[in-house]
Subunit: 138 residues, 2 copies
């Protein structure tokens, strides 16, 4: 198995609402069938799909609801950009889990929660490089 | 917010066990401190960290345990490679959620579950391109 991830799918309650939120962040994607939506995100694809269908498709017997131990992160190029993205997410209908602040590891980060409860950490990590194409090198 | 994801962190119960599993899949990463582990995965970083610490850091009030509506996927170059990756995951200590089989959307896929309950769909999608560097173009 090569060391890469092709796709991340977030389960959502209402595809239109979820697409509206990510559209509010400036993300452009499309739904071929009104059922699933795909967004090209660098070298991978980000998808939104019914949480119940994703559960069944993922061979998960029970969905207790809520968070499941996975967090996505977006690295910004400065602390000010972290704050700007958090403000953008709040304006788009997300909630702020924690405001931008210095972290114990020497960076700066905050968290927004999307309308389906999926957390995104927005971080400035001065030790990792963000390449011009947005890819990250640690 | 640019249309990209920098980092995916999976919460785990035992970092050594989780690193052993991904090592069994041929993934090379390292832990700077014995607490978190990082793996370069194409243009992003894949991380393993204590689920309880990740919960707190992600500003998640309650963790009901189990799955939380996010599934990762790995696209393979053929149905035979799907079966090979599933066999590799089972040999490394994962469980098979569903065996490789034709899908309703015209591809071929199966699911393995990692030791912490995180599902990975392994798929051959004949409609999407896997570039030589492993990036996906839909």
């Amino acid at each position: 198995m090569d060391q890469r991830i092709s796709l991340i799918t977030l389960g959502v309650a209402d595809l239109g609402r979820a697409m509206g939120f990510y559209s509010g962040l400036g993300w452009e994607g499309s739904s071929p069938d009104g059922d699933v939506a795909f967004y090209q995100a660098g070298g991978m694809v980000f998808a939104l799909w019914s949480r119940a269908k994703l559960q069944e498709d993922s061979a998960v017997a029970d969905d207790p609801g809520g968070w499941g131990g996975i967090t996505l992160a977006y690295n910004a190029r400065s602390p000010a950009e972290v704050d700007a993205v958090l403000a953008e997410a709040e304006a788009a209908g997300g909630s702020i889990g924690r405001a931008g602040a210095a972290t114990f590891w020497g960076g700066y980060s905050g968290v927004f929660i999307d309308p389906d409860g999926h957390p995104w950490e927005i971080a400035h990590n001065p030790y990792w490089t963000i390449n011009p194409d947005g890819s990250i090198t640690r």
